[in-house]
Amino acid sequence: MSPQAECSTPSYNLNCRMQSEAAALERLCQVVRVRGFRISEMSMSSGGEHLDIALTLEGSRPIAMLRAQLEKLHTVEEVLVQPLSSVRSALG
């Protein structure tokens, strides 16, 4: 991908609460990848029965589609998405 193309790829913050289970992260990442997004940052905290996962994503497909697919995962409880105004171009 050319640097220019990279600059114009929309990015998002995605926060996801999942039930805690061994394969939770893998499930999430698999859907993100297959539905056309790239994870550029990731953090996770676990408390009690939940995992709270924060992702920064890049991808040119509609983010609502990714959200709808993630919400279908049996162990996903909530997905919140926020567009990031072209983080990369701001960073130059």
Binding site: A22, A23, E26, R27, Q30, V34, P62, A64, M65, A68, Q69, E71, K72, L73, H74, T75
Partner: protein, 566 residues
Amino acid sequence: MNGAQHILDAFHRHNIHTVFGYPGGCIMPLYDALVDDVGVEHVLCRHEQACALAADGFARASGDIGVCIATSGPGATNLITGVANAYMDSIPMLVISGQVPSPLIGTDAFQETDILGMTLGIVKHSYLVDDANALPAIMEEAITLAQSSRPGPVWVDIPKNILLADVAAPIATKAETPESNCPDVAEALAMLRSAKRPLLYSGGGVSLAQAEDSFRQFVQATGMPSVVTLKGIGNPGKGNPYNLGMLGMHGSRAANKAVEECDLLFVIGARLDDRATGKLDGFAPNARMIHIDADAAEINKLRPADLALRGDLNQILDAFTKALSSEPLLISDWQKQCKTWHTTGGFQAADNEESLAPISGPAFVRQLSKIAPDNAVIACDVGQHQMWVAQHYEFDHPRHHLTSGGLGTMGFGLPAAIGAQFADRSSTVINVTGDGSFMMNAQELATIRRYNLPLKLIILDNQCLGMVRQQQELFYNNRESHINLDDNPDFVAMARAFDIPALHIERTDQIRRGIEAILAYDGPMLLHVAISREENVWPIVKPGGSNKEMIDETRRTSASTKEQVA
């Protein structure tokens, strides 16, 4: 009770009496428990792929959940194609695999594979059981989940020590499926009423929701012309005057024309697959779209809907029917137009009545459709023969047409037919297969014999991978590459080696007698049908092309003719 017994207990509670499986090391405790269980019939297939596909066929034909079982490692990996097949077509399935004992997981133990990791993308959900006391609740959840909302396969991977462990947890209570509320249909109804050329587009979601009756009442109330996807075939019933049949890559010219001309596309239980829509730019260019589906993620996925309703199709369709019965739609001109298209642009078979002529695939399927009983279940494989069945066989119910739609799995037909026969031992089940596909699960002839299933097998043998040959001919300058199967085995002798009688036919005047002979025979029988190598499936849209650009040589027009319905 140990873990294995808890699994059988869950089967009983959910009325699961037939399972398809293959034993091995890590799943042995479950097989040991099966010895004492007379309420569960375990069907031993000869390959785990066939176990999964048979469970799939069982589920498609019956509407109940299909269950398959395998051991760890190669047993589990052999299931994968069948599970992917079920996933792509949203078939309710429970998959049970043995796993190496918990302490050995992650040590590259004998027959250890990370089946959970390998299958994430082809399951609705999956579990690796790490606590014996969690097993009853997991089984309960898995069985419920596989069948709820949009169905799909749920995989439970169980280490051997958990199958053997005493389970202290009580028997799980049956999970309640949540009631769904019917969305308001008023706005959609207004859109429907204002449309001059509304067209119904229905898919596999109708029978997945067991909404066949509601669908037909709705069709009757609206009189709306309709097209179906491959998996929606049979939705409108036999002889419906406004059904234009299958749309898409191998759809009829009439169906694709109606989609092009309609001003409202009313999509029910369909996901707008690329094989159906062709290039999206050219798809239903004049239409607004109402999309009704059980799965929110299908709405707006490929084409934005002008209005979407999500929920139980039965409730939604009933609400429309009720509203429409007092004041029907006024669309008689459009109905007439669609009927005319259907007459001039419906599926055509280049009928050659000459008795000594070689057998044509479409002509054979038309005869089969006339002769077989209305409630016969046809399990197809993948290729030209599959499309000929979709085009030329008249189905009166979607559960009578078993076809691998989403994954297009060669080798599906024979095991799926076995599953369908177990779903109803008295029904007529016919596997229509190709010479290539048949060889992908031919070992299942042994299963037919073992259980003495009265299945009928029909091989349309064109001595090649016909569908690939056709695309090489049309789109790769006729450069044939690795599609030749003229060294096929003698299929008649092969069937007989499994103690299954078989007949060979090759001329048009033998079609009727051949079909009647296998249907009349009290037991399994194979009909080997030699057909021309060169015959193609018409019409065809070039992969990636627009449905407007159909190539149709049915009447031997020039190859490049882009015909449209006049």
